[in-house]
Symmetry: C2
Subunit: 226 residues, 2 copies
C-alpha cells in the first residue's frame, strides 16, 4: 500500500509583489479542507521567528485556520506529534534544515506525513526540505547542517524560485515563482500559473504546463525510504 | 612579524565572454614574476579534471609558466610541499572544498602560503576557499564537505561574481566580475576594472574603486589563525 502522504509544495510565498500567500490561498484552502482546524507553523528558516509567526498567523486566520508556531512550544517534537497539519515557511534553507535536525524533528515529521497522512504545506525553503536533500538550493550556506539530506517526503529534488537555465543537477524539478506541486499519495500534479522545468539524469530538460501529472516522479527509489 | 603571504584573488576566470584568464593575464604575470617556473594547478572544482588542466596548462604556458595539475600526482600533499606557486580554479565551491579536505590539503596549503610565502592565485571558487569559510558562496551544495571552514588565508569572506544587492552576510566583500584582490603580507589592494562592495557587520555596505587599500581587513581576528 502506498503512503497516504499529502503535500502542497509552493515555489514561493508571494508572486509579483502580491501579498503573503495571496497567489495560492485558494489552493491552500482546498488542500487543507474543512477538517483541519489548526496548522502547526515552522518558522525556522528566518531569524525573527516571532515576526514570521505573526505574518503566517494573520494569513491562516484570514483563511479560517488557527496557527500555532512551533518555536512557541516547549516540546517541538510533541508539537509535531499533536499537529493536524504542518506548514514550513521559506527563508534560508540551510538555517531551516539545521534547526529541523537540532530539534530532532526529521523523524517525527516523516512519520506524521508519510504514515499518518497529515497535510504538509511547504513554501520555498519549506518545499526544498520536503525533498530528498537540499542539494539544489540557491541559498547561501550561512550555517552548517549535520547533513544535506532532508525530509524525503518525495523522492526527487526541487529548485524553488527556478530561474537559471544553466543548472547542473541531473534529477530535479525547477519550480518557477507561482508554481506549486500537489502530492496526494502516489499522485503528483503541477499547479499554479507559471509551469515548471523537469531535469532527469541523462535527458534534456523538459517544460511542463500547469495540470501536468508528475506521478511517475514518485515511483523512483527514495534513498531515505527504500 | 606578519605572514609573508602573497595572494591574487580573482572574482572570475573570464570577463564578458573573453578568453580564459585573459582579462587578468598581466596581473598574473606581474604577480608570479620571473622566479616562478611552474605552477601547481588544483582543478577539483570541476568534474572533468583532465579537460580543466588542459585549459589551464595552455593558458599558463602561453604566459611562460609550466603547469602541473595536482590530480595527476600520486601524492597530492607532497605536490603541495614541492610547489613553487598554487592556482586553484573556479567551479563548484562545495565540490572544491570537499576535495581539499578529502585529500588532506588544507593544512599543507596554509603552511606553504602563510609560512613559506609561495604565491597563491584563486579564481572564483578558488578565491572563496582562500577565505575563512565558504559561507558566502552562491553555488549549489552538490556535495557535503566536512566543514564550511576554508583555508583561512585571509580573515574575511568573499562573494565572487558579486551581483545581488540583497546579501545578508555581515562581514564580507563582494567581488564583481573583473575584480581582483592582491594580498601581500599585511597589505591588500583592490585591482581590476569593476570595483567591489564591502560589507561590515552593523554598517552600511560601501563601494570601492580599483586601487583601494583594503589592508585594514587583514588586521581582523581570524578564527582559524588566532
Amino acid at each position: 500500500m502506498g503512503s497516504p502522504r499529502r503535500l502542497l509544495l509552493l515555489s514561493s510565498s508571494s508572486l509579483h509583489g502580491g501579498g503573503y500567500l495571496e497567489h495560492c490561498q485558494q489552493h491552500i484552502q482546498s488542500f487543507l479542507g474543512q477538517k483541519v482546524k489548526r496548522v502547526l507553523f515552522i518558522p525556522y528558516a528566518l531569524h525573527d521567528r516571532d515576526a514570521y509567526a505573526r505574518t503566517a498567523r494573520e494569513k491562516f486566520e484570514s483563511l479560517g485556520y488557527g496557527l500555532d508556531s512551533i518555536h512557541e512550544s516547549c516540546d517541538p517534537v510533541e508539537a509535531i506529534r499533536k499537529s493536524e497539519a504542518i506548514f514550513i515557511g521559506g527563508g534560508n534553507t540551510f538555517r531551516l534544515l539545521k534547526a529541523l535536525y537540532d530539534n530532532n524533528l526529521i523523524h517525527e515529521i516523516r512519520k506524521r506525513v508519510l504514515e499518518d497522512g497529515i497535510p504538509y504545506i511547504g513554501s520555498s525553503a519549506g518545499s526544498n526540505v520536503a525533498t530528498i536533500s537540499i542539494n539544489t538550493t540557491n541559498d547561501m550556506p550561512i550555517v552548517y547542517p549535520p547533513s544535506l539530506q532532508a525530509l524525503g517526503l518525495v523522492p526527487f529534488n526541487i529548485n524553488p524560485h527556478y530561474l537559471d537555465p544553466d543548472i547542473k543537477r541531473t534529477h530535479m524539478g525547477g519550480l518557477r515563482e507561482g508554481t506549486m506541486l500537489l502530492v496526494e499519495g502516489d499522485k503528483a500534479t503541477l499547479q499554479g500559473a507559471t509551469g515548471a522545468r523537469l531535469f532527469l539524469r541523462g535527458k534534456k530538460p523538459t517544460e511542463h504546463e500547469p495540470g501536468t501529472d508528475f506521478s511517475f516522479l514518485l515511483t523512483d527509489s527514495n534513498p531515505l525510504n527504500p
